[in-house]
Symmetry: C2
Subunit: 431 residues, 2 copies
């Protein structure tokens, strides 16, 4: 029951920023929140500011292995009445005049003590320590609230919790956080030519006969796991170029998801399901065709009462480029993310060759370090074509460039998938 | 049964490069190899060069949606006798004079055709296409061997297989690779004060009482999973500061592993198990104490007939620094890695403040992007102390610096754990 007419051919390609703007203005960020132990919140997005529930440390804490004493007893000979190591909690010792308690780094100071004298600064004689000089109060311990003050904001809303944050929060007794529920994603690889390889010998024969081992959707799943951990890929499947089947899957099996990513279009043609799906399912097309190289299949629609659907190229690197340019910012928006984790483009490299780009595009590059600088050397043009997927093996990363000419020496953001080589090291390897 | 005398106190701290040299000269890289389907080899290390087993494509392949024809028939009116789309394998059509076969991108050309004319360049009239002009041979298809030649090295020995390599190799029918077996690792967090948090409310009370929720070993496990995927963490456990127990665990439960990482030393003291373990187990101490900030507990020994043991600090960030400086290069060596995946220090940032470092050390930094440049602004000195783990939440990454003074504007390698902010964006967030 076709209710919307969607033109078969593209009228224009949509610039990236405009596409992001269109999609994010029509798709609402997730609202549901859950309370989670911090150690289960890694990768999730904070739904409110995390505030310190206590001054920390709640009691003065030894910053050094040594003896908790009263400074007024120094110089002097003090009797060691016990020890308060960090493993032993609820120590009942009190530092009375003329006595000392051994403390290890991180242990709470026993009552009565006003300073910690380092182990190396005293002479031990049986149950006694000898302090030769006067030793001031207030040394070698962290006072109450030294690390955080009650009510202080430790992490703002919209930040993604990292493993290092967990270490920081648990250290000051923050054990619970409020996070948004993860964004749910389904990925459908479309293409009658595709198969999921199982047996290597059989897979080899099938590829030689012209079938295609599916890798594009797998690559997108990998990118989501790596760069948008607030997102869960609930399902990844392969379907043939049968629009009825894809429509059935979208509406019956994936309606409850937040986002479905289709991979496999190569551009508007009889086998491109996007415009047919939009008509069949009364989808609201947000844009069709992104103004990037290989971006003709990149499109977006919202299904009535269902998920956002983003279509990406069937070529692995073009799809990954679509992920970096479009899916990543859209998933940040959907997840309420202000600051994510290490992003897809962590580094800037200096070009070791020229690039002429008619559209924004990924350029396969070799990466190398020299004198602490990262260089990106584009593969030759004939190895850049999207059909030559095997040239991924020659490259170490993707330079992400805009539609203009670049000169050797200019700086470009890079996605790194292989450790950069060393200029000299490379030569040694080859020798 | 003490058989080696190991001095209790450190005589000197070992510089990083010397420590790496000592360890790698005494520990043999893994030798066992396995053959694996390429899609199961992601993260593993190639044990031999991967060579193309075939010319690819093995037959000419359409590079465009269009019609496979004989150029000598143009200009002319040609009868379309069938189609060879990429999903349909073993097409039996032959392009006889006066005929054409519809081909989609990636489909093998039917015999008889010598060129592909794009869909848009012809006029379709029922079962016929009309080609107005002469059309040369050899257009719009990739000839045999266009992507790779039989025998060509696609990936060298010692490279770690990435998801993008898998896409590249499967595209040219390479379905099997020979890889080294993964390095097996155990992690023991030592410390009587430690506990594994389970219930958030209970954990909060225990931390306030002075117990410590274990995060250091977890952080090292995270780093191994992320940066050295050729390594498998077989087990991570907590043990109290009981040398007999740690010795028993090392020799009875972890003897079969390649590497055991101990976390939890804070420096030579009564509760530092390293030197006692070396004596008890007749371990060959390779070095004790690394010349980096917080590096006194960082040590290495080889157990007789057992694993390499690396000890790291109990402080999360100091241990992570030990991972970056020492464990990472040692694991590259043990795994025969020439080129790994995206490394712990992918980027170089420009310092937005001075640093004075007496030893090589990690410096917690805020990261921000401005005009396509990455800046690192060190946290104030009092937030850098290893006891203030909570300042992880204020930082976005770690600058890894050497023992010297750095001026604002100098460039340093950074480990990024949070997406850098934008200078203007930050202001907007705060407003």
């Amino acid at each position: 029951m076709a209710s919307r007419r969607v033109p078969r051919y593209l009228e224009r390609l949509t610039p990236v920023n405009e596409a992001i703007q269109i999609v994010t203005s029509r798709v609402k960020p997730v609202e549901e929140t859950v309370e989670a132990p911090v150690w289960e919140a890694i990768g999730l997005v904070l739904a409110e500011d995390v505030r310190a529930p206590h001054d920390f440390p709640p009691r003065p804490r030894a910053a050094y292995d040594g003896y908790a004493i009263r400074s007024s007893d120094t110089p002097g000979r003090l009797r060691v009445v016990g020890e308060a190591t960090i493993g032993k909690v609820d120590v009942k010792y009190r530092v009375e005049p003329g006595t000392a308690v051994y403390v290890s780094t991180g242990a709470y100071l026993p009552d009565g003590a006003d300073t910690v004298i380092p182990e190396e600064a005293v002479r031990r004689e049986g149950d006694y320590i000898v302090v030769e000089k006067e030793f001031p109060a207030g040394k070698n311990f962290d006072p109450v609230g030294a690390y955080v003050r009650k009510g202080q904001v430790l992490l703002p809303r919209g930040y993604v919790v990292t493993m290092l944050d967990v270490a920081g929060l648990l250290d000051v007794a923050v054990t619970r956080v409020k996070v948004y529920r993860p964004i749910s994603v389904g990925i459908i690889a479309t293409g009658t030519e595709l198969f999921e390889p199982v047996d290597p010998a059989e897979a080899e024969q099938r590829i030689l006969r012209g079938e295609v081992a599916e890798t594009t959707a797998k690559l997108i799943e990998w990118a989501i796991d790596r760069y948008t951990p607030w997102t869960v890929v609930e399902e990844r499947i392969l379907l043939p170029d049968n629009v009825d089947t894809i429509a059935w899957y979208l509406t019956r099996q994936m309606r409850h998801l937040d986002l479905v990513i289709l991979t496999g279009g190569t551009g508007p043609s009889d086998v491109d399901p996007f415009y047919q799906l939009a008509e069949m399912l009364d989808g609201e097309v947000l844009f069709r065709g992104l103004f990037v190289k290989g971006g003709r299949p990149t499109s977006a629609m919202i299904l009535p009462g269902g998920p956002l659907v983003l279509a990406l190229s069937g070529h692995p690197v073009s799809a990954l480029h679509g992920f970096i340019r479009l899916v990543y910012p859209v998933l940040k928006h959907m997840g309420n993310v202000v600051r994510g984790v290490e992003p897809p483009l962590p580094a800037i490299a200096e070009l070791a060759g020229d690039i002429r780009a008619k559209r924004p595009q990924p350029v396969k590059v070799k990466l190398y370090l020299e004198d602490g600088k990262l260089y990106a050397e584009p593969l030759p043009l004939e190895r850049q074509h999207s059909s030559v997927t095997v040239s991924n093996c020659e490259a170490d990363g993707l330079a992400i460039v805009e539609n203009r000419q670049y000169q050797r020496g200019e700086r470009v953001p890079v996605m790194i998938y292989r450790e950069p080589g060393r200029k000299e090291g490379e030569k040694r390897e080859e020798a």
